[in-house]
Symmetry: D2
Subunit: 297 residues, 4 copies
């Protein structure tokens, strides 16, 4: 398929590479010349501008951008995608943004006659490189079906979440719960160990009991409990504290707009913000356990 | 085995019955004559006082009491167990109390020459009746081994947690995380649904993602997601809000004594307290989701 | 002075009336014909559009709008104020919005050659009617000086807060602290009374001690402590819960952008959101004490 | 008057000295020989034991002890005060403990025929030395009247709070609000300054607005705002973080027993605990602002 790809950063770059590998024909755009050159070397064509990419003969355009303001700029701007793209081109935004903005852009696309889905991902840069991302997709079922073969070239778990914006809703709800659970796991592990328990024994009990969660059985924040968790390699790699902070910001913003309370979600955001402000924004988010006990390495 | 059993309430009563069923010889005591009569009818002998039970020819005494003050009273009182019991009698306290109190009583027992373990349970009254409780055991490994056959008559998952008090530590740490996760699950489910997602679809996505936890995949607080969860039967049965409140009180108290923060744990306690104060203490603890959306039945 | 006034709602309406009373010549605009008619009857001229008001011969334009999106629309829109206004016209925005948006608009005004200050108010609709508002002003000192006589026709406490946006900063910081203090006061009063103290005695002690704050000595949330506080008239009148919620939303948003934690501020926002979601958004914000004790009327 | 004084620590020592200065005849007891010697040198007599002090010919006994367990031990122990003291001796406990414990001891005293009041203080070691403490007194009005001249030798603000235990209630409620307000003040000051405001200007605005509180106008946590606040001398002196932590522990414990939520109170406790755990327990409690911005000295 002829596909346009816009946004070749840490996530978008490897995703575009996987599309090439799967045999798709790619036209790409990014503000970074180096990022573009990297894809061109792998076989992609470069578009000189967003408008040029929009005006080319692609059948589908995928965007992967940092935040809602960039998505709105790229799609809704005067020389943006919607101003230039033909109505039969399918649009996929894989950026993680708030559901309301996603719906606003999708509504504008529909008004121009374009089919659009939101398809944020989880799985990090590792998943992007390996082609094992999870895609959470919002939009019409038929548009999900049409996009499925393309998304499968970049991920292995492609989930339909319902109408437009619901991909973002699913991601924001899941990640808010993740951010809360991780702090809960950190508090429970640290409390138990400070009261005399061996961390592996404690994790073993929790993992077969009602406190069990992904943050204890797959990504335990206590060093040494799981060999392959960031906690066992100095909290490097993994999912950065500042990325979790961004997602919690989206969750609390969405909650504010929906006039729903998210008490623990908001508190979790503040704790990660405190931890980030102490210079730890680049560490894996499970490092939040260090706020509880400075002695944990 | 000749066993003394002290405390025949909602939990202790069925536990004692299971010991009788397993063929043990039981001497029992409780302040409630009805509770005692019920066990006597099933084949137990009644002791007229704590001191009498302590002075009888039992080989092991099990206690199941509401709170630390009762445990201290029963074990350390002037006519209490330790004052009267022979040194070869093994002691098991299955009450849920704070780890410090558990260790204080165990130390006093050791000074008298008695082997003692703490063995709090999870699984509720249903598990007590069915003999499927989980026991979390603190004490010496040899004493755990000696108690194992007796505990297996009352439960199916008997876990050794390390030195004295660690059974309580494990329970308190697990249940604090549970209390946090449940509110996190309630917030995430309510946020997602208020933003337009179907609750079953959302739960399905979370349960295969990083937000996965027992509170979403086994005990989801949103009505209709899981047929057999309390949420699908009006939040009746299950684990009462006031019981969760008691456990969170133990967790924050233990944290205070250990001088460790439990930020989300303390906030969770306050939210359940607020919910209980609004007249909901008897509902299953997953009903906390109603604080987030009055429209949830 | 010839003044343009844009936004004649619950606050803007009475403010405009006070300008007329002080002898200023007023040209007004609002989407509500009734609001415009009301001012015209009192002696103002009506402008048919924002552009027309901007193009008239006023020396100063004051805006009083609900939220940042309206302020941006009115100032930065294609037919907005900045597109049409002469460079010598002074601009005053009295809306309460986030500091970043205020600075963005002021920067755009400066680029057009217009002097602009942000001047949000406190004092509510009562203060607006009585002309006793507090104005918190951000911008250049000279522009503050030039606006002072006009602001004094609408308020009695006009405070210079420093460079552009600082009026909003001062308001947001003060009101966040107010929102926190009020919940703190509610908790302390409710705790003390539930433990057996007379509410007036308790308030008297706090008000001469280190817990003293405006929320205890001027606006006590406990019914009957202060005769003229909303608590003593069923929490009617005063400063609505949903208005406090809006200000806390601005505070946490500003904090997010500044990457600073506001832990209690964010929690306060969530508690007011919970209270509002239970149907209490129209009550004075001190009614939050009812979340702590349903028995408080 | 002939007075017995028990507990000659950082607070009790200087209080006892002030009683001597006022001309009272003192018999003292403390576990520290040095503390006793210090008072003897100043003219007091030393009692060899609690029982001896209780059995001497004093008309009144004042106790100043670290925590409830010590108060219970001293009053209720086998050789404690109540076992040995004559019924006409008046008892005053100035320790800061939870209200329930205070009432338990007062009830035991009443059963022995002794008049007892609880009279915790605020004002710190500086106030103890200067004789300017505030006493919050619970008990019968007549007993308050009888104690007043003695208390006035040690303090200048002696407040009657109602029935037994209410002195403790007043203190706990006030200090919980103080602990909350201080964090609120820290967040508001730090937010405002990070957004570009001068700290003195911001404090000035808050102090004439609805955010005003003792923590902003008398004890501002931002360095340089108030010359004589601990913030302006590196957070030395003042009221230590660990002392605030103790009082918040009493407040949340009292709330738990009363089954009342104190959401911000509990969160404040956790934040001070986190701050203390990072090695700052000895700093004045206003240093909590450093958790918000490491750049604040």
């Amino acid at each position: 398929m002829k596909i346009g790809f816009l946004g070749l950063g840490n996530m978008g770059g490897p995703m575009a590479h996987n599309l090439l590998k799967a045999g798709h024909e790619l036209t790409v755009f990014d503000l970074s010349a180096a990022a573009v050159a990297n894809l061109v070397e792998a076989g992609a064509s470069a578009a000189p501008s967003i408008a040029a990419l929009a005006g080319s003969d692609v059948e589908m355009i995928i965007t992967m951008l940092p935040a809602a303001q960039h998505v709105k700029g790229v799609y809704l701007g005067e020389d943006g995608l919607l101003a230039k793209v033909a109505p039969e081109v399918r649009l996929i935004d894989s950026s993680t943004i708030d559901p309301m903005s996603a719906r606003e852009v999708a509504t504008a696309a529909a008004a121009k006659g374009n089919r659009m889905i939101d398809a944020p991902v989880s799985g990090g840069t590792g998943g992007a490189a390996a082609g094992t991302l999870t895609f959470m997709v919002g939009g019409e079922q038929a548009d999900f079906d049409a996009a499925l073969p393309v998304l499968q070239a970049m991920g292995k778990n492609i989930v339909y979440c319902g109408p437009s914006g619901n991909g973002q809703v699913a991601k924001v709800a899941n990640n808010m719960l993740l951010g809360i659970s991780m702090i809960g796991a950190a508090e429970a592990m640290n409390l138990g160990v400070s009261l005399g328990m061996d961390p592996k024994v404690l994790a073993g009990i929790i993992n077969t009991s009602s406190g069990r969660c992904w943050s204890t059985d797959t990504y335990n924040p206590y060093p040494g409990v799981l060999d392959n968790a960031p906690a066992s390699r100095g909290y490097t790699g993994g999912f950065g504290t500042d990325l979790m902070l961004k997602d919690l910001g989206l969750a609390t913003e969405a909650a504010k707009q929906a006039r729903q309370p998210v008490v623990l979600g908001a508190l979790a955001q503040q704790l990660y913000q405190t931890f980030s402000g102490q210079g730890n924004g680049g560490l894996d988010f499970s490092a939040i356990i260090k706020m509880y006990n400075g002695a944990i390495e």
